[in-house]
């Protein structure tokens, strides 16, 4: 009887050892202290766990930790600027209206801003991109090498002849859903902040359009096989990004 009782306890112990080898349950600890066979058994299980953990041990890239911190700082900046833009809105309403009027007038005078209402095609493209930008609190910051490699590959998957020259300030690139479309979402760091651009394959819009949209200065530009949409907080950033993309994107045909 005593032997049967011991076997039962050992079986129970082994079952627990395979479920939770580091269990601190009193009976488990006590049994391992009094049964050399089971102690050896659980030692084996722990050793396999340690070997398994060691087999998947890798060093975390140093740059990743820095990027995690940087993303947070950018996110915080973005949150703060959003709050700042909402809070003093009443206090500065008149001044802002006046500034906006001057801004629009300036654009129209320089023939860079189409004051008429935005057509449906443009509206759909812009709303798709902005919807996606709003969903994604902040765009991750990658190394330029990775972002360029990704962008080149993704663009080639759309059209093998579509090429991209290396952009040292390209920070991110990925295929993303954007409203009713799906396209390449990427970002460039300009001297005037981060600028987002998207390449959406499909029918090209008739002509280039600059418009203020949801707080962004936007440009929808017909390109071969689709449209290029550029979104910036400032006109300077928009112009800089477009100029760079104009030189970098080409069709090798």
């Amino acid at each position: 009887m005593n032997l049967v009782y011991k076997e039962m306890k050992c079986l129970e112990f082994k079952r627990l050892a395979l479920s939770d080898p580091n269990s601190s349950v009193h009976g488990f600890v006590e049994h391992s202290a009094n049964c050399p066979h089971c102690l050896k058994y659980v030692g084996g299980v722990r050793q396999m766990d340690a070997d398994l953990a060691s087999s998947v041990d890798v060093e975390m890239p140093a740059a990743l930790m820095a990027r995690l911190q940087l993303n947070q700082e950018l996110s915080e900046e973005s949150e703060n600027s959003a709050i700042k833009s909402v809070l003093p809105i009443r206090r500065y309403a008149m001044a802002a209206s006046f500034a906006l009027a001057l801004f629009v007038a300036g654009f129209m005078a320089s023939n860079q801003f189409n004051g008429s209402s935005i057509g449906d095609d443009y509206q759909a493209l812009l709303s798709g991109v902005v919807e996606h930008m709003n969903e994604q609190a902040i765009t991750p910051v990658w190394s330029a090498e990775r972002a360029n490699l990704n962008a080149t590959t993704l663009l080639a998957s759309y059209d093998p002849s579509l090429k991209l020259k290396f952009l040292s300030n390209l920070q991110f690139s990925r295929i993303c859903p954007m409203g009713q479309y799906k396209g390449l979402h990427a970002s460039l760091e300009t001297t005037d902040g981060q600028v987002t651009f998207a390449y959406i394959k499909g029918d090209s819009v008739g002509q280039l359009l600059d418009a203020g949209y949801e707080g962004y200065i936007s440009r929808v530009k017909p390109v071969r096989g689709g449209n290029l949409i550029i979104m910036s907080r400032t006109n300077k950033g928009l112009q800089e990004a477009d100029s760079q993309l104009e030189k970098a994107m080409y069709w090798d045909i």
Binding site: S19, G44, M48, D57, M60, L64, L68, Q72
Partner: protein
């Protein structure tokens, strides 16, 4: 980054009174290394792992106010990561399941893993487990979670976790073969 060298036990930290920035810095300091190991293991690709991690940490930052207890931080972060991973890569991973099974020691070495044959055999055995068994074992061995924490993350009962872990280790031994298992330290019944 905030100097965290004086923090000796992360579980003793009172998150509810802590500044959000410091809380975030503490999360990175305390859990990013473990999370990266887990991320790389799940994603099987360095770039994807980094990408999902960045997204997960951004989501963590956004909802950091809801995290009150330091002892819950790791489970909370891993849950965010798992959701983000599922959201971004579940379909892709499924699609490339056949490719995964063709991993070689060279592939693993490229990812920074131990390239000794016994380490490779262990990783392969883990990969070959059914997902229901593999998930809790990965969390216990790679993530260092308790059965109760795993139950919470997977949204199943603790007894179900125990059963799955038991079966996972039994199956690992079968996959590895008794000879290898004995060599690795797992003695027979």
């Amino acid at each position: 980054m905030t100097d965290l060298s004086n923090v000796t036990d992360q579980k003793q930290v009172n998150y509810s009174v802590m500044d959000k920035k410091r809380k975030y810095a503490l999360l990175i300091e305390a859990h990013s290394t473990d999370l990266y190991k887990y991320a790389l293991w799940l994603c099987k690709d360095k770039h994807m792992a980094e990408d999902v991690m960045q997204e997960a940490f951004l989501r963590a930052w956004k909802s950091l106010d809801s995290l009150r207890e330091a002892k819950a931080a790791k489970g909370w972060l891993f849950t965010i990561f798992r959701r983000e991973h599922a959201r971004q890569f579940e379909r892709k991973r499924f699609k490339y399941a056949d490719v995964e099974s063709m991993d070689t020691i060279e592939d693993d070495k490229h990812m920074g893993y131990d390239d000794r044959p016994e380490a490779f055999a262990l990783r392969n055995a883990l990969k070959r487990l059914p997902q229901d068994y593999r998930d809790p074992l990965e969390m216990q061995v790679l993530g260092g979670f308790s059965c109760d924490e795993i139950a919470q993350i997977l949204n199943i009962s603790s007894s179900a976790v125990m059963t799955r872990l038991f079966r996972a280790r039994k199956k690992m031994r079968v996959i590895l073969g008794e000879e290898t298992a004995t060599h690795l330290g797992v003695v027979g019944d």
